[in-house]
């Protein structure tokens, strides 16, 4: 009986994940287009918040450069319309990765507050440079793109989201993930124990930047109209942070949970009261910081630590120790 339980426990999660993947892969066949469109945004924010959390969660660095990285993908896509989309996705991702490398190299020596200010300033720099470039060099305010078919966009985003989750999960479980967490605990101590902190920071940041750029490359033809204010909107830096912290960065599924809940919630609000959307998100965020310092995951975790005592009770009983 116990062995059946153990086996089902071990295989339950992968089976469940496969089932979810199969459901998502076949979904456009039997749900209304509205839901498919909603899922495109959900995938986009899952990609952004999971990528953000993969670097910022364990290392305790707060990056506000998401808008810059995502916007790089968006702009690559709008400039390279002639090429087939899969190659544009890769190029957008790679350019974003390069930018990530650059940020990593420059921001190497910056910590805490300085890193946040730097990444925030960099996103704004890119936005303003692109506005200046569009007005003075190309003479256009924005660009029109051929709109991408909903179903195609859905599968592209699903694919990128899947790869993002897989890579960040493996990254988190690897020695690399351990090194990142040690940086988060104490960077100096980590460096002293032989972790190449700079390499770990730069490489992880660049890898996560790739996914943000790739997502941007798909979203550009979805939006069909692109200008620097949209592509590098500071809100895009803010969203993933809200989602990841709302879900909780302590667990792998935290940012996913946060992204799904907030996207659905903001979609519901957006549909009814468009003007209140961002207002509401700001408020949610403030409430999260005030009352949910560890996110939704934190609530679950607290229960778990509570039941930890019960676990000891079970062991005591098995061993025949009376407490």
């Amino acid at each position: 009986m116990n062995s059946i339980k153990a086996i089902s426990g071990r295989y339950l999660l992968p089976l469940l994940l496969l089932l979810i993947l199969a459901l998502l892969a076949t979904m456009p066949e039997y749900v209304p287009p509205y839901i498919v469109i909603l899922f495109i945004s959900i995938f986009m924010y899952v990609i952004l918040s999971v990528s953000w959390a993969a670097f910022c969660g364990p290392t305790n660095y707060t990056s506000l450069a998401t808008a810059a990285l995502f916007g790089t993908g968006v702009y690559t896509s709008s400039l390279l319309q002639a090429l087939p989309l899969p190659s544009v996705i890769v190029i957008g991702g790679l350019l974003s990765l390069l930018l990530g490398l650059l940020i990593g190299l420059i921001a190497l020596r910056l910590r805490g507050m300085y890193f946040i200010i730097f990444t925030f300033g960099l996103s704004e720099l890119l936005r303003n440079t692109m506005i200046w470039y569009e007005i003075n060099i190309t003479g256009t305010a924005g660009r029109w793109l051929t709109i991408l078919d909903t179903e195609a966009a859905y599968y592209y985003m699903l694919g990128i989201a899947f790869v993002t989750l897989l890579v960040t999960y493996l990254l988190g479980r690897s020695k690399f993930g351990l090194a990142m967490r040690s940086i988060g605990e104490d960077e100096d101590a980590s460096a002293h124990t032989g972790v190449n902190v700079n390499a770990v920071k730069i490489i992880t940041f660049a890898i996560t930047a790739f996914f943000m750029g790739a997502a941007g490359a798909v979203m550009a033809p979805r939006w069909s109209y692109i200008d620097p204010r949209l592509a590098f909107n500071p809100f895009l830096s803010f969203y993933p942070v809200v989602m990841a912290l709302f879900g909780g960065v302590g667990q792998f599924y935290g940012p996913i949970l946060g992204a799904v809940i907030i996207t659905v919630l903001s979609d519901m609000v957006l549909a009814r009261f468009p003007l209140y959307n961002i207002l509401l998100l700001g408020l949610i965020f403030i409430v999260v910081i005030l009352f949910l310092p560890n996110g939704l995951v934190g609530l679950v975790r607290r229960e778990r630590t509570g039941s930890c005592g019960k676990g000891f009770d079970v062991i005591r009983k098995r061993l025949g120790i009376k407490s």
Binding site: N60, T62, L64, I106, R109, L110, G112, M113, Y114, I116, I117, F118, F120, G121, E124, L125, N128, T129, W132, N136, P234, F235, F238, V241, V242, L245, L275, Y276, I278, L279, L281, G282, L283, F285, I286, I289, L290, P293
Partner: protein, 289 residues
Amino acid sequence: MITTFLDITVTGLIMGGIYALIAVGLNLQYGVSRVLNLAHGEFIMLGAMAAYFFYTLFGISPLISLIICAPLVFLIAIGVYKILFERIRKSSKSMVAFEGSSLLAAFGLSFVLQNAAALAFGSNTKAYSYLIQSVTFAGATFAVNRLVALFFAVVFCLAVYFFLRLTRMGKAIRAITQSLDTAQLMGVKVYRELGISFGLGAVLAGLAGVLLSPFSQISPFMGLQYIIIALIVVVLGGLGNILGSLAAGFILGFVGSIVMFIQPGFTLAAYYLVFLIILLVKPTGIFAR
């Protein structure tokens, strides 16, 4: 030649005065209460909005708006501090954690204020004209409203300087920027000073908003450009070094006016360049020892 020189100098002073005012406010908040208030630009927006509506609806001159806005913004800011940041401070495990979460909370607050303002006042861009006549001095022409803004910006900057240097409370605030614990041991009512510093910082932003309202595009989203400049100035002068921001504001103003003279499109790019160089070469600011 003398005209060009005068042109660059006065433009630099005007820009520098406003930048210094904004940056000193931001740094007063960060240096003392440790909140890097990314919603600082929204307090500028509130000041500018108030000046606009007071002028267009009731015909109240922006100079009188200065007097009305100061206590108004102070109360709002104290409220925000008590409700938001003081709670975060109490629930944070460490100072680093508090700085991180308060920055993010301020970022959230900026979106709340922007969109609340857009709902209340409409999201279109507003402008009004006040003291638009110009004076010509040695061949260089300046709008009176900018000169008035410069005058008051300098007055407020000096007021902050002497407040911090000469008064008892200023001394207490400077003590807190050096060491909160020691200041507390010396009998400074730390928690009161933290709130007051945050409020004062916001007041400076609100006053700057009123001052620049006659010659700016007033919109709910105008704050962003100023917060960026304020951050650059604060980093230039040193995070937490309040008097450093005062000097750095004028330095950046002069950089701006010189670049604007050579190639107007590159002002912002020049600011970012200064910002990047400072962050890379001396992140603690140019006045750090």
